[in-house]
């Protein structure tokens, strides 16, 4: 038997379409537990769509997503799955403090109606410390820089205390210092045995930051350990126009 038979996420025959246009086509993907995985591909390749479909935020045309060796889908496992959306996807003028936003990470565990307790607030303080934002607890979120917003979102994800994390471009618009902080955080998560799936844009940093990579452009071009699949041939296939890609695959 192969060593890696424990999968954090298994995607089977996933096809997602907006109207008649397929955005993701027949995706088969197995993400082993405990990996730090980058999802890489050109603009419009369906990276964000893939994450949203895995999280059940979009309804696929076909296919299924299973988490943690088939122990359930997103509905039953919601407290073990963490999510960091693109920071641009929310309104940062919303009347809330940094702590309010991070506290939302605890909401899943609490379920409907129950209020956050002292222990939850304690947890938010710890996670803010981990991302270096402990001095901003009471800061209004509209006063944060792009990098700080991203850190707040990460702290919120940490407060979810999940086993599998999905992050949509956490490095987008952050300064070099924040980027380093995020990378060390990701490596920490891996050390704790968590699985992290990151939509990533910067090809150069893939070998440094990640140990597993999935190259997609409408379909999965390659997926596996960085040293095995992250090479020029696969990258060429991924970054060609989708038309040539399909012809070369068929």
């Amino acid at each position: 038997m192969e060593k890696q038979q424990n999968y954090a996420v298994e995607v089977e025959d996933l096809t997602v379409a907006y109207d008649a246009k397929p955005v993701l086509w027949d995706i088969d993907l197995k993400i082993p537990k405990g990996q730090l995985m980058a999802v890489v591909g050109p603009n419009g390749a369906g990276k964000t769509t893939l994450i949203k479909a895995m999280l059940g935020l979009l309804k696929p045309v076909t296919g299924a997503v299973r988490f943690l060796d088939g122990s359930g889908d997103i509905r039953t496992l919601k407290n073990r799955i963490g999510y960091v959306p693109q920071s641009g996807s929310v309104d940062w003028d919303f009347p809330a403090t940094v702590q309010d936003v991070v506290l939302m990470g605890c909401y899943g565990k609490l379920g409907w109606v129950r209020r956050p307790r002292k222990a939850d607030i304690e947890l938010t303080k710890q996670t803010l410390q981990k991302v270096g934002m402990q001095d901003y607890t009471t800061r209004q979120i509209s006063q944060l820089s792009g990098g700080q917003q991203q850190r707040v979102f990460l702290a919120r994800a940490l407060a979810q205390e999940a086993e599998v994390y999905f992050m949509d471009e956490p490095f987008k618009g952050v300064d070099a210092q924040t980027e380093r902080a995020i990378v060390s955080l990701l490596k920490d998560l891996k050390k704790q045995g968590k699985t992290v799936v990151v939509v990533h844009h910067d090809l150069q940093t893939v070998p440094d930051y990640f140990d597993w990579v999935t190259l997609i452009n409408l379909r999965v071009v390659a997926s596996g350990p960085v040293e095995e699949v992250f090479h020029e041939e696969n990258l060429k296939k991924t970054y060609h126009s989708s038309g040539t890609l399909l012809r070369s695959v068929v």
Binding site: L55, Y83, P85, P95, M104, W112
Partner: protein, 372 residues
Amino acid sequence: MSPQIEIQIIAVVVAVACALPGVFLVLRKMSMMSDSITHTILLGIVLAFFVTHDLSSPLLIVGAALMGVVTVWLTEMLSRTRLLAKDAAIGVVFPLLFSIAIILITRYAGSVHLDTDSVLLGELAFAPFDRMVIGSVDIGAKAIYTTGILLLINLAAIIIFFKELKAATFDPMLAAVLGFSPALVHYGLMTLVSLTTVGAFQAVGSVLVVAFMIGPPVTAYLLTDDLKRMLIVSGIIGAVNGILGYQAAAILDVSIAGSMAVVTGQVFLLVFVFAPRRGLISSLLRRRKQKMEFAKMTLLFHLYNHAGSDEEASECGVDTIPAQLHWDSAYTVKMIRFLERDGYVQLLDGLAKLTEEGRNASIRNYNALFAG
């Protein structure tokens, strides 16, 4: 209790009851939906009346609340086709449903007291005539009790589901992942808005309902940084608007509802202009200051780049800088004075020279702006 006091109590209760769900409408950028709902629920009332033939039946409220939700649903279904924008969808659904209600009333219910004027403007002045009598004891105007129940329902719903409303409003995606269906929260909130509208418009008319739902929350939004505080401040502003509006109407002898809506608008304008951090004046001042800081920084960079170089004379002269930076000379002189006062620049033979401090400041600025 005098009718004057009763009217003001009703106004305050309605204002607070409207402001609470209104806060979430504003934060969800759905303000105009309240305008739509306040009108289309009339169709729900008319249809329910055709079923019950009784104007005091509670089914009328159910019909109205359902129609409110249907309005939201139709509007969103239309805009989700991406064939028309959301505001256009509101513009289609709202007149359509409202007009059907008007036609039904004029064609089939002309003899019944379903007065379209009072739907739009309400008549708060008449509210005290409708009494709540238990046994044979008069315990006050009926509207105090109906709107009071409404206020309690809204308060309870928002206190109980505060966390869910907050998460689903700020970040619906995360809410969905955490297991709080944003659609459920959304339609729950819309039901609350519809109920509030039905309960409130009988007393104050639909225009004032819109004013009470949107005015106080947008005013509070300019004054607070925290959702809980925004809810509380909205309630207080709504209540104050109601009382001030009534007093103004009494003094000027004009429409009570109209006066309250006008006061709501005026209070917003006052806050909009004078609010301490987000007001017009303070933003203008802040922007001016930022512009000046930036100009100072730019000049420092310019001097730093050319200090000690061959072209220093042509780049850094007090009379050559204006041409280089495309500034007018008065402005340039002003900026150089500022920098001089900060101790960053010294004037030598008509040349602006950086001091040691100025050099350091320039490097500091550069690092803060560009380096990680």
